[in-house]
Amino acid sequence: MKLKRIVQIIATIAQNSYLPAIFSGGLYQGVLKRACTPILNCWGCPLAWYSCPMGALQHFIGLRLFPYYIIGLFGAVGMIVGRMACGWLCPFGFLQDMLYKVRSVKLRLPEWCSYLKYVMLVGVAIIVPYLVGEPWFCKLCPNGNLIAGLPLILTDKSGDLRALIGWHYYMKMAILIFIVFLSIPIKRFFCRTFCPIGAIYSIFNRFSFLRIKVDKDKCIECESCQMVCPMHVPIYRSPNHIDCIRCLDCVKVCPTKAIKHEPR
C-alpha cells in the first residue's frame, strides 16, 4: 500500500475515533473540540475529536468577530505545505480518491470549474454568514451530512431527531448524492469545485515552503504526471497550480525524474 493511503487511513481514524459514541450515542464535546483540524471534518460527527475550521470560521464571522485563530491556522499550514493537508489528511478527499477507483466512464472537468470554489468561499462561507449570522456553507456541506447528519439520524433511538427532518435534510442528502455520484467519473470533484478550505490553501500554493519543481530540460511532456494526479493538474506546465494537493504521486511516476519536491 502507498504511503499516502496509509497516512490517509491513519488521519481519518485519528480525527474520528471517539468510540464511546458508537455504544452510548451522542458525540464528543470535550476540551479537544477547542482545536480545529486543518481540513474539512464536521464538528457534529459522533466520532470526531476536533472541530471543523470552516464551521468555526463561519461561526466567528456570524458573530462579527475577527477569526484570529482560524486565519492563523489556515495561514501557518498553507505557508508551510500549501494544499498538502487536502491530499494527505482530508477524509472526504480520501473518500473521493476511493470513489474514483470504481470502474466507470471517466470525465474531465472544464478548467473554469476550479474557480467555483472561490465563489463558495467568498459568497457562501464569508459574505452570507456575515449578513445573516448563520453558517450557510455548513447548511450545504455534503461532508457534514455524510459524517454527522446520516449517522446521528440512523442511530437516533428516541426518534427526536427524526421528527425534525424536513426539506433541509433532503436537500443536503441530494447534494451528497450529487457529489458522490460525480466523484466516480471525475477526480476529486468536490475538492476541485466546491471546497472552500481547498480554495484558501490554494492561494498559498505559489508561496509555500514546500514546492514542486519541474526540470524543463528533463521533462518530455509525456503527461504521465497529469494522468496520475488525483486533481488532474498539468504538473509539467504548472507545478504549483492552485489545485495541486502535494500528494507527490507525480514525483514517483515521472519517467525522467524531472519532477521534484523541495523546500523553498
Partner: protein, 44 residues
C-alpha cells in the same frame, strides 16, 4: 530574502493563533457545535 519573508509570514500566522487564543477563540470554537450542529445535520 524569499525565505526570510516566508518566515515572517509564518511567525505572523502563529502569533495570530496565540492572540486568538488569548482572546478566547479556543473556548468559542468549543461551543461552535452547540450553535451549528443542527445545520451540519440538515435539520432545523
Amino acid at each position: 530574502m524569499k525565505r526570510l519573508i516566508f518566515i515572517i509570514f509564518v511567525v505572523i500566522f502563529i502569533a495570530s493563533i496565540i492572540y486568538g487564543g488569548k482572546l478566547g477563540d479556543f473556548e468559542e470554537t468549543e461551543t461552535v457545535g452547540s450553535v451549528m450542529c443542527l445545520s451540519c445535520m440538515g435539520i432545523e
